[in-house]
């Protein structure tokens, strides 16, 4: 049974990645680091439900199996296909949004202790407005301080909000790209605000049409 479920999960993974490529033509632009199996925390801008699928699609099949997206439990922990995909295809790290930030950090710490990589969205919520990036939450600073050996890779997801704007039924097949920047790390003597500012700038630098190309 477990074997069948595992095979089904792998087949579904390929199907989802193939579909994402077909609709969005997504490609990974490894600008500041190379694809690797090192333990990493990918932190990205968040504008759509499809965000972590795109990051996950451009990772190699092996990297995917050790990389867990951090997602909301109330969305993914619903019986049926969604739970199967959440738990077995993406192996999502489900966070109970009502339980507060502390338990979320604890869950991520557990996952990192098992040498998994993570995909996180430090804005904390989907950005549906006109500003390119919301203020980052403090959680990423806690993680970066606690795990100095893990690479924190900034990731900019471009165009997905145009493919499927909020409230639309059908996607427009525009091209999306996932741009990986240079990893950053935290030091104990750096104030939290300074680190968050640095993380924010690392993300915005990757945004096409801004900063150094």
């Amino acid at each position: 049974m477990a074997l069948i479920r595992d095979l089904a999960a792998r087949a579904t993974a390929r199907l989802i990645a193939g579909f994402a490529r077909l609709v969005t033509g997504v490609y990974g632009d490894w600008r500041g680091c190379q694809p690797a199996l090192d333990q990493r925390v990918y932190f990205a801008n968040h504008t759509s439900h499809g965000d972590f699928v795109l990051i996950w699609t451009v990772l190699s099949a092996r990297a995917r199996r050790q990389t867990r997206p951090v997602a909301a439990a109330d969305y993914w922990n619903v019986p049926g296909l969604r739970r199967f995909i959440g738990a077995h295809v993406f192996r999502a790290l489900l966070i109970d949004r009502r339980a507060g930030g502390g338990s979320a950090i604890a869950a991520m710490t557990d996952a990192l202790a098992q040498s998994d990589s993570l995909i996180i969205f430090p804005e904390g919520t989907r950005n549906t407005g006109d500003t390119p990036l919301l203020p980052l939450r403090a959680g990423i600073h806690h993680l970066a301080l606690a795990w100095p050996g893990v690479e924190f890779v900034p990731v900019w997801i471009d165009n997905i909000s145009r493919v499927m704007p909020k409230g639309e039924l059908l996607p427009v097949p525009l091209l999306c790209s996932v741009i990986f920047g240079q990893p950053i790390s935290a030091t104990p003597d750096e104030p939290r605000e300074a680190f968050l500012q640095r993380a924010r700038e690392a993300l915005l630098r990757l945004k096409p049409g801004e900063g150094a190309a």
């Binding site: 704007p165 059908l170 097949p173 525009l174 091209l175």
Partner: protein, 320 residues
């Protein structure tokens, strides 16, 4: 054998002969490219040259497969090319949320219906469907959501995408549907071969002459790689190439030279106009679809301008 029977044999087998010829040219190019890499090492220019040549094998093979299936194959091939071109074009244009329905209309109705009309050989409708009805519908669709910010700019972007990426490329398969005075069915297919070989030959020869002799840029701000030496050498030699292919066309030899010249010049300006749009959008290539060439639009830019002009000139003088 007399010249007459020679020509008859060539005409009966012109498509295989053409593709065999292209195969020989590509083999030569591949050999030269690899030899350059062996002698000079893999400099970026030589790497890019070899990537371009390798991509040409795929592009010629795709055309070959489409030719086997005639109008249907070509309509499908160019519909796919249009789809890729349109997504490249619209990805680089600053549309807003309010343009979502315009984009959906273009991708899911405008594009398939246009190619369906070409496939139906309905000249009276495929030649006005997008420029008349498409133009109006896109303008109307843009007003429906009440967003007036950058209105004219946004509508124009989408309308340009429609013309550049769907309407003009659809004229390539439409060449098959022309009721040629010669009455031979294969002549329509060979018109496409003539157009594509001359326009792409002109691009390649401009590149070759530019790399070998290029000194004086035509328009440094638009496209630093286009030089007068490349332009004159490329267009002159591609016009000769087209003249040498007169036997596959319904044209006389001087007329074939004239047609080839018009194709080369319009093709050159197609490249220049699309370069201007790229500079305006701040990118070097339209995409990364074809290794070494950039995006689909980087390869299709000259065809886009040459195809409609070539179709209408041929239709005016050589159809019943």
């Amino acid at each position: 054998m007399t010249n007459l029977t020679d020509r008859q044999w060539l005409l009966d087998h012109s498509t295989p002969v053409l593709f065999a010829g292209l195969g020989v040219v590509l083999l030569l190019a591949t050999a030269i490219g690899r030899a350059l890499a062996w002698v000079h090492g893999n400099t970026p220019t030589i790497d890019n040259l070899n990537q371009r040549i390798d991509a040409w094998w795929f592009m010629v093979a795709a055309m070959g497969v489409a030719f086997i299936f005639g109008l249907t194959g070509l309509a499908i091939l160019f519909a796919i090319l249009s789809f890729w071109a349109l997504r490249e074009f619209l990805t680089l244009t600053p549309t807003r949320h309010a343009d979502h329905s315009s984009l959906l209309l273009l991708f899911f109705i405008g594009l398939p219906v246009q190619y369906l009309l070409v496939w139906q050989q309905w000249y009276g409708l495929y030649s006005v469907f997008l420029p008349v009805y498409g133009f109006l519908v896109l303008a109307i669709a843009a007003t429906l959501r009440g967003d007036t910010a950058d209105f004219l700019q946004r509508v124009s972007f989408v309308q340009w995408g429609m013309m550049i990426c769907i309407y003009f490329p659809s004229h390539v398969p439409a060449l098959v549907t022309l009721p040629l005075a010669s009455g031979r069915a294969a002549d329509g297919l060979l018109l496409i071969a003539f157009l594509v070989i001359v326009v792409q030959g002109s691009d390649v020869l401009q590149y070759v002459f530019g790399k070998l002799f290029g000194r004086h840029p035509v328009s440094p701000r638009l496209s630093p790689s286009k030089t007068w030496e490349g332009l004159v050498g490329g267009i002159a030699s591609a016009t000769l190439l087209g003249t040498a292919l007169w036997w596959i066309t319904p044209f006389s030899m001087p007329a074939a030279a004239g047609m080839a010249f018009v194709i080369c010049v319009t093709g050159f300006f197609g490249g220049l106009v699309l370069s201007a749009i790229k500079r305006d959008r701040g990118v070097k290539d339209w995409g990364r679809m074809i290794r070494g060439h950039g995006g689909i639009l980087d390869r299709l830019d000259s065809v886009i301008f040459a195809a409609p002009v070539f179709l209408h000139l041929t239709r005016y003088w050589y159809t019943v």
